[in-house]
Amino acid sequence: MTTVRAATSTMLAVWAALLCAAALPAADASAPALLWSDGLKKVFADRCFACHGSLAQQAGLRVDTAAALVAGGASGQVVVPGDPEAGSLLARVTHPDPAERMPPEGEGEPLSPAEIETLKAWIAAGCPAPPDEQPERDPRDHWAFRPRVRPVVPAVAHPDRVRNPIDAFLEDARGRAGIAPQPEAPRQLLVRRLYFDLVGLPPTHEELSALLADTSPDWYELLVERLLADPRHGERWGRHWMDVWRYADWWGLGDQLRNSQKHIWHWRDWIIESLNDDTGYDEMVRLMLAADELHPDDLPKLRATGFLARNWFLFNRTPWMDETVEHVSKGLLGLTMNCAKCHDHKYDPLRQEDYYRLRAFFEPLHARIDVLPGEPDLEKDGIARIFDGVPEVVTYRFIRGEDQRPDTSRPILPGVPAPLAPHEIMILPVALPKSESEPERRPWVIEAHVAQAQRHLDAASAAHAATPTPLTEQAVAVTVAELAAVERRGTAMRSAWAVEDSSGVAADDPRQVAAKESAAEAVRAERQLVAVRAQGTLLESEVKLAAASDDAKAAFEKVVADSRNAYEQALTAVAQPGEAFTPLVGARWTPTRFRNSSADDPTVPFPTTSTGRRSALAGWITDSRNPLTARVAANHIWARHMGQPLVATVFDFGRKGTPPSHPELLDWLASELVEGTAAGPHAKPWSMKRIHRLIVNSAAYRASSSTAGNPEALRIDADNRLVWRREPVRLESEVIRDGVLALAGMLDTRIGGAPVPAGEQAASTRRSLYFHHTDPDRNAFLVTFDGAGVKECYERERSIVPQQALALANAGFVHDAAARIAAGIEAQTRQRGLGSEDSTFLDVAFRTVLGRPPQAAEAAASTAAVGRWRNLEPAPADGSVEPARIHLVWALLNHTDFVTLR
């Protein structure tokens, strides 16, 4: 009787738990094991597995199976089946003291009352669990952490559906699901896809017509090669990689630089050039991380380190380091290392220490701007780059990630997460050439300063020649003195190097004597410049005094007296001997304010060695054995061609991320990227153009995006995970704007250069990737269409909101472009003798804007609208394009098929 009652009360407890455990899925009370497998296990997985599962077994305890939980840990049993009061588990999860409670504070939320009730009921029921319960798998066994092996291309039942191995992998999966792919899209759509996809701009009407008329069997492949070789390809894919690599122009308060670096656009130009040159992905990554160690003194390559300089932050090293660690991990490795900043990673085999070990690679960083040939003014231009400025700074783990709480008991050395290391990494210091530590030695630096002084002199002379006054004459004198001072300083620097670079130069050696003499001359010339300037100031003040009204004279007399005094002091200084001149500048450290004062930190000198940490890290990341790098890159490329990635969580290939929809295809693409065995052009390792070529030549890429005629596939795979059709893709904001301008022949096709500032963007016709890109002043049109996020942009949003309709319908440049396009169409039809009828205009307008002719219903609706417009606004008498036709083009630019790649 007692037993029965106990059993009944157990069942009641189970039911009670079920009733109050609203958060838990309902379980069948006849099978209390489901309490565990359908409810509690999920609770434990979220709260407990990170420390008591396959990743770690703290206190010797695992709770990832009921059996392991019952078995207990180092301190014995934590639950006693059938007796909720025995065992320490319930006491620990309900402990009133947060320091004693599990999960520990900051590591997870406490269990809810309902969850605790369920736990009690489950223990009371005897901790039942399904008989075949498996423990969590070893995290190192996760698919993305396993070595990549080139998969065998499967044989398929429908070889006619296969253009290259990509299709074989896809068809293999489709075949197993029993669905067929869509047929190829019409040629006009294929052309439009390839243009937008590979160069980011629409084909011109002429290009499209020629391609439609092309009867050669390999017109498609030839077009692919032509577009891959087109320099606009680098701009198109440059913007994609700028998303992933987080390109951002400098930002500050007024003129004060606070984030990124001035002139960082050189990094953007390097990306464009490198993509056009088909520089290997591995080489690009290596240069972005460590060009200063791998190719010191190679300024064109040093541009790549903008990748790291972009994270620079004026006030605090930690945000700089945090962004670097987070995005090197997410962007290059598909790892959410940022989740391990405060505690061990909850899902991946990354310890908190690994976060700081990765940070340690970057800890010595500082930023600087190097002088470019021809421009010594670093406010105007220069190469923004990084260098190991403070190798002595020690990295510490921050307790709970709080930067005020470094664990100074143990310095952290650079290292990579052990479970992911395919090989040991070796860090060797790199000796830098003199031109790195003394950049003023670069051959063009002195020349650039002299040329600048000469330009100043020429300008002052010209001004004086035009309208001579005492002030212009004085200005000439100043620039003459400036040129002399710059030349003498340059001479003195060269003389000093002559001594410095040869060992054992005696004091009476002519070189030593020359060095001393030229230094003295440089000092004198500098002081003369000061004196001439002071003379100029004096002159100006005297001119003002002469013009001053009587009551203001006294004040100006004081100014004149002060100026005279300064001038006389300067003259005295010229006569005095000196040897310490100001060297001409070859690079400037970008001052930080880490010391929490309102002044710049003490200058960080340019060292003669670099730690070698980053080149070691770059070597590890780009090692062909790294399981993640190539997979992550291949996924990014695939996603941008095909409209959806193979791994949906593009920056998280870890255990919390989504497994690939086609694991073998991903590995095959990654292998192709690394090894490059596919025949044809772009055969070198890590060629991205090879991957582009493979993807766009696949039948999958060429398939129709319509679902029409394939109800079976739609029923089985509405989300198109099996890639039985192409995804329609909403064009990115930049491509929409560029496309409108290009169709109108308004696009400025110059490649590269300084960004267009916010205030000039409305009138600019440059491609959108050249717009100054930083958070406070983003271009309204680009933002409306989900322009690249500045902080993080691994995937573009694809929102559809009314503001976009307003932007495209009302933006001035769209109306301007519509007028230009309409005029162009009329000129073209006239030229080709096609007649001036509405039907002709309509046909060419559809082909021009949408890349296809109108269908009958579209033509009818458009013709009707043109008629209504014509009633409102008759054709102008001067024969210029009539408003009705301009409005028609406007409507086509607002057509869903204009902003969509079908």
């Binding site: 969580t649 998280d652 509405a718 009314p802 503001q803 307003l806 319908a809 109306h815 409102l872 606004e873």
Partner: protein
Amino acid sequence: MRIRFPSRIRFPSRIRFPSRIRFPSRIVAPPRVVAPPRVGAPPRRAFLADLGLGFTGLALGAMLSRDGVGSPAAWLPPDGRPHFTPKAKSVIWLFMNGGVSHLESFDHKPEVTKHAGKTIAETPYADVQNPAKLALERAPVPDANGLQRNVLYPLQTSFRRHGQSGMEISDFFPHTARNADRIAVVRSMWTTDSNHGAQTQFHTGRHMLDPVQPTLGGWVHYGLGSVNDDLPQFISIGTREYWNRKDGMYLGPAHDAVPLRIDPANPLDFGHPQRPFAPEAQRIGFDLVGHLNRQTSIEYPDDPATAARIASYELAFRMQHSVPKVVDFADETEETQRLYGLDLPHCRDFGMQLLAARRFVERGVRFIQIQHGGGGAGAWDAHGGLKANHQGLSLAVDQPIGGLLEDLARRGLLDETIVLFASEFGRTPGTQGADGRDHHPFAFSVWMAGGGIKGGVVHGATDELGFHAVEDRHYVTDIHATILKALGLDSRTLEIPGRKRLAIDHGTPIDAIMA
């Protein structure tokens, strides 16, 4: 985890696509239409289709989760319905850029004046500068502000008791004071950033050195649908000086505030054609675009992006006309306009913003965020000349605020609208320079009024110098939690898998001030 609006939204065929649905303005958001996850499809995405009921909601129509971010059964995006019975349906969020001095507004501290000229160390309250008590201040942006100011500076205005509650309010705010029995003041706010990054912190709950989070307005927009399909549901008016302009952050740009100007001729970005385009001609154009897009949707029958785009164009066309009407006050009586101070040059601008806010609330707009005070890091940032600064600025905002509370009340709207008055931090009891106060994150005051909020309540307290919040201390996210609770939302339910928020992000509702 990035949530994006998919180009693929599947509308169940039996649901008709309403071109326009009108709801009486007093009705809480109707349930959105939820398309259940398809049976038999890969368990990949959970869809929510909002068929044109909302403004930004409309189209996007849907949000999706991804594999691996919780099973579809465990997580669905919000359906636009409150999680429990709401007390309010709209928020008017008044934010004073730069840092209002709590000592000259809502927290009367006569001891500051009594010890004026002494260093804090010389007063009986020296312990307020105990370093342990200052530790919450976190890695500030150092620019010579946000420092300890030691010499006490006397209060620059007097205080009086107001209303039945006898609430003490400074003489800088007489019109607000007239409404003392409508408002609940919280005097025990604290934050951690001693520089103007605290502006972002007040809106997102996170210090500027932390990863950026969505703002409260973004969360509300995400969590609640629309009650009006002609207007944006999350509006930003006035200047944002110092903080990130993206509200939605990882919720997506669809949840950013739509910036509005109180100018019937030009209220919206791209709100009217930037080249001559007669309204009739534009109407023909929008009709043609809709017609052509519908042709496309025949050829691509399962492309929800096309359907969403058709709807978005229809809405956009209406918005062009509906938004200017809301910010055109021609149909407001002169008495009402005077109530907001529209006849007074010094408060006309802010008064127009608040009158517009009331008109938006009447039309069911969810969240109207108004920022006051441009220039530098915010006009209220009185490092020097505090008296003149606060006198002038309170003159600009106080009458409109009093007018807003009274106007909402007499129209019966105050019961369902929350009004918040806040700033990023308070100001130091000690003087900066001769006549200013510095940034002060350790204590400041905010007040709330309206739906779900008690009137005539003072909650929390600071020490005698107004230095530290000492009783019922509240971090900024407690304000968020209070507002969300009044709106019937549970922030934990809104949370997106893969975007783990911390306990402090959620905050705790201040039940003591809730009706």
